[in-house]
């Protein structure tokens, strides 16, 4: 099997055969502590172990051609993340998923995959919004407090930007929020290369403006539950249409 799939890069790429496979993956357990670069490296090595016919970047230091939708912060779990793999030849997405899952370390799992057009803009540029589940002690009360602040009052928090601390208003970046229980809060936020709200910054706003206990904030489990792209009609949709039985 391994040898059937392994492709000699020297064969070069034949443009008409290049296929982009978009994979939807989840992470939980130990891998949540990986930084984005670590996660990339882990995917690269897993793909090599799985001997998928991945294309390599050109230049000094050829790397498997992967592009991730949106970096995941250290400590974050995800149920719905995306990576595009450039393959040198057409390959059945389902068998690529099955094969890669055999070689990913525990805690990383590909859920589904599909072929996307090689002419599409990059995955990262498509991302518009993300949804997170925040599980922390007393988080919903804090959320109600900041939601109850006067409409014209900005939610100012400090963040590091290019080495400097800057103050930003995150209120416009929050699209939706609802609680499920006193300790479980869902938020939908702007995400992507244009405007992006990191959930840790939101937690900080809860601490500063909603009287959320800092220790509870540091202990809050964060799970990305959805990544969304524009559907072309002013709405949002998943980067991959979800097949029913897969």
């Amino acid at each position: 099997m391994a040898d059937e799939l392994s492709v000699l890069a020297d064969k070069g790429r034949e443009p008409e055969k290049i296929t982009i496979i978009r994979m939807c993956f989840a992470r939980s357990g130990p891998p949540i502590w990986l930084a984005h670069l670590d996660l990339m490296r882990t995917f690269e090595r897993s793909i090599r172990r799985a001997a998928l016919p991945i294309a390599y970047t050109r230049g000094f230091n050829p790397r498997p051609q992967l592009s991730f939708a949106l970096p995941l912060g250290v400590g974050l779990a995800t149920e719905d993340d995306y990576v595009d793999l450039t393959m040198l030849e057409p390959i059945d997405p389902r068998s690529a998923v099955d094969r890669l899952n055999l070689f990913l370390p525990p805690g990383l799992k590909v859920l589904t995959a599909g072929v996307v057009s090689a002419k599409d803009p990059s995955l990262m540029s498509l991302i518009q919004a993300a949804e997170y589940l925040l599980e922390g002690h007393g988080i919903s009360t804090a959320a109600k407090r900041i939601a109850g602040l006067p409409q014209d009052r900005p939610w100012l928090v400090e963040k590091k930007q290019k080495g400097n601390m800057v103050t930003v208003d995150i209120r416009p970046l929050l699209m939706d929020m609802h609680d499920e229980s006193p300790d479980r809060l869902f938020i939908q936020v702007k995400a992507g290369s244009k405007s992006n709200l990191r959930p840790k910054l939101f937690l900080e706003a809860l601490v500063r403006l909603g009287d959320f206990d800092p220790l509870a904030a540091a202990d809050t489990e964060i799970t990305r539950t959805k990544l969304l792209i524009a559907d072309g009609f002013g709405g949002l949709k998943s980067p991959l249409p979800r097949p029913s039985a897969f």
């Binding site: 391994a2 392994s6 000699l8 890069a9 020297d10 357990g29 130990p30 891998p31 502590w33 990986l34 930084a35 670069l37 670590d38 996660l39 490296r41 882990t42 690269e44 090595r45 897993s46 793909i47 090599r48 172990r49 001997a51 390599y56 230049g59 000094f60 230091n61 050829p62 250290v74 400590g75 070689f103 990913l104 370390p105 525990p106 805690g107 220790l215 540091a218 202990d219 489990e221």
Partner: protein, 619 residues
Amino acid sequence: MAAVNVPRYVLQSVVKPARYVGGEWGSVHKDLSADNQVRTRFAFCFPDTYEVGMSNLALQILYDLLNKRQDTWCERCFMPWTDMAEQMRRLGLPLYSLESYTPLRAFDFVGFTLQYELAYTNVLSMLDLGGIPLLSADRKGDDPLVIAGGPVTYNIEPMADFFDLVIIGEGEEVLPELLDLYDANRSLASRNRREFLRLATRIEGVYVPAFYHVSYHPDGTVAAIQPSEPGLPARIRKRIIRDLDRVDFPLAGIVPSTEIIHDRIFLELFRGCPRGCRFCQAGMIYRPVREKSADLLIDQALAIERSTGYDELGLLSLSTSDYSELAKLTDGLLCNLAPRQISLSLPSLRLDSFSLELMEKASKTRKSGLTFAPEAGTQRLRDVINKNITEDDLLAAMRLAFLGGWKGAKLYFMLGLPTETMDDVEGIADLTRKIEALYNELPKSQRPRRLEMTVSTALFVPKPFTPFQWAAQATPQQLDERVRRLRTLLRSRSVKYQWHDTDTSRLEAILARGDRRLGPVILDAWRRGAQFDAWQEHFQMRIWLDALQAAGLDPDFYTVRERSEDEVFPWSHIDIGVSRPYLLSEYRRAQLAQTTPQCRDACSFCGAESFEGGICIGR
């Protein structure tokens, strides 16, 4: 014992939390239910950070070897960085293994691999964080057996108080026998630790420090080292693998998810070194040279690449240019690896046209840096240390390098070598100037546009089991003077000069040739806050000097004192095969600047022939 649960906010607050969670590809998890037969739990401990420890081949080899046993589960444990250690202490979290998060004290064996002396205080930190009594004498039946192996253990005397048992030689040979013995005498081991340790001394290569008594002369030198009971061997002989082709090598290692220092596949070409440089401890303790065959190495490289997914492969040995099948090996690797997008990273090779060509082939696009270790600045001093490299060799190599497009090289030297004078120090600058002149004489079209040389000097540390074990280390004053001289002489736009901190090398010298009286000093220094001594940002010589003084010991006794020819060394009861008379004759030859041929050219009957293996066979 329950698994340790590290609160999320702790991991959230420390640098590089991925170090503390495990779960990497290739890490081994075993089922502990009754029918699964795991009876012995072994914690493999590396007394430095995850990134350093995971780069160590011994860890990968022994992890693989131990986990192939059905009755044993070997897990890993590293020294947490100070931020994590602080949090663990604050919260009372014990140090735990990365596989099952089991507290260190719940293991049967806690085994340290010791690669450098400056990790000693970290051993104490790990034991302490793990809730294990620091002193061997204080441990009871249900405490783990705390053992050690690795190059530093050939003179483990300064750490003798802390280890129950020490392995002298190659772990692949000794550990299986030790684990068999433990499995057969499990209840004895917990009922009567001492009896079990006594039994273990029957295994060749096992050293139990507590069974040996050391007496001292009034001047502080060792008078005698004697077994404290009849029936113990007077000398402990190192164990080695005779045929490396026939011993397991991990074909599916652990692949870290987070970046480590040497993040690649390692192929071990051979153990030992034929050269016989007189300052080099590794060159003596690993004798004789034992090579693996090129065919086997190529097969193993391919298997490891498939199972790990690494895209870089490195060659490991003490002197790769001396590998007898180097051309066959590198040809085989290059033609198999290139199509699979794997790069071959080459260690520093002896520079000749073969190796330059090889470097061209290995790095298709980028020129990797060249490094050279002439070690000394004059031919006389190179003869003293038996470093078989001449000025002509070096200039010829640099010429080839310039013609091949290299901008320069990094040259490594040692300062404070035995018999060194200011002439030898100036020789380093002369040599560098000759390289500059060589560059300037080349027509512009044939040389790179700029010249970039780096000269790096480190302070010589005399090590046990080398011909220089008798020699004095240079004093800090002598060293400062020599470094200052070089700084003035090496002022040039195309030469960068780097020198190493002398205090680190002084401490290394104290610990390397130290005796058991240093045990309390290490403990005291650790209590005063010494840890991560190998890390510049943590190292504090003051602490060590205070601890030595408190114990009434003079650092100069260990560093700058030349030993008399008949001095009993603290490590005299350890037998590495290479004989003391041989080392002494080498020391004498050094003083006369007489060289000794390397093993391949002529055997000097150093004593390693007694292992009846490797390069000594067929002579």
